[in-house]
Symmetry: C2
DNA sequence: CTGTTATTAAACCATATGGTTCAAGAACCG
DNA sequence: CGGTTCTTGAACCATATGGTTTAATAACAG
């Protein structure tokens, strides 16, 4: 029962093919076929992945004749990064604790 | 067919209850019951969510008598943030493009 | 018009996900 | 010991997910 925007974004990012597609789109616009090509799956499956990315607001589609041209929409990723950044202190804290232990060990040999 | 570490992490983050649990754990260690309490779901369901977080390496569990004490393990989040940071240029770029348009409009009225 | 290309739609399948309920297992309380 | 508390396990259910294959649709090429 995925509902909030962040739910969609994180879910979209949870599949390697979709992350790869986003990475490809940083190089410029691509149509569905071009996005599908590198992946060992049917065209139709890739098309569904693109739809998931669209649903998360990460891809914008523009129909140009028979081609569906996709463009990266990175803004929602900034929301995800903002959420993660709240935890930055907590992976640094662990390093700080380690440093403290090492420092204490050096000072009391 | 989730497999890579990032797959697990992003999938774990895609459910609001799990994100809330991580947020709670920034306040200190909590047992399963405490993590479950704020959520409108059965104890067993919450327990499963904790297991997902564990599977993603985001939570460490320590059994203390009948309590299972959970602690935040934030490191995998840093991997996720690192992946996202690659895209920072792309949401900034959009803002830059907007600024450029506004600038051009002002200069050629 | 005909054929090829790009894409979606539909039907189907196996498995995962998120939830429930009820039973079972330890550990503490008195 | 007996009862309560914290937690998992198991069975079950509905729906979602990720994949397939086979049409169907639409646009371009000749």
């Amino acid at each position: 029962m995925v509902q909030e925007p962040l739910d969609h974004v994180f879910h979209a990012l949870s599949h390697p093919a979709r992350r790869a597609m986003l990475a490809t789109l940083t190089l410029g616009e691509r149509n569905i076929g071009e996005l599908a090509a590198p992946h060992a799956m049917s065209f139709a499956a890739a098309s569904k992945h693109v739809r998931v990315l669209e649903g998360a607001g990460l891809v914008a589609r523009r129909v140009e004749g028979r081609n569906h041209v996709c463009a990266l929409q990175a803004e929602p990723l900034s929301k995800a990064e903002a959420w993660l950044s709240f935890f930055e202190g907590f992976w640094n804290r662990k390093l700080d604790a380690l440093k403290a232990v090492l420092k204490a060990r050096k000072e009391t040999p």
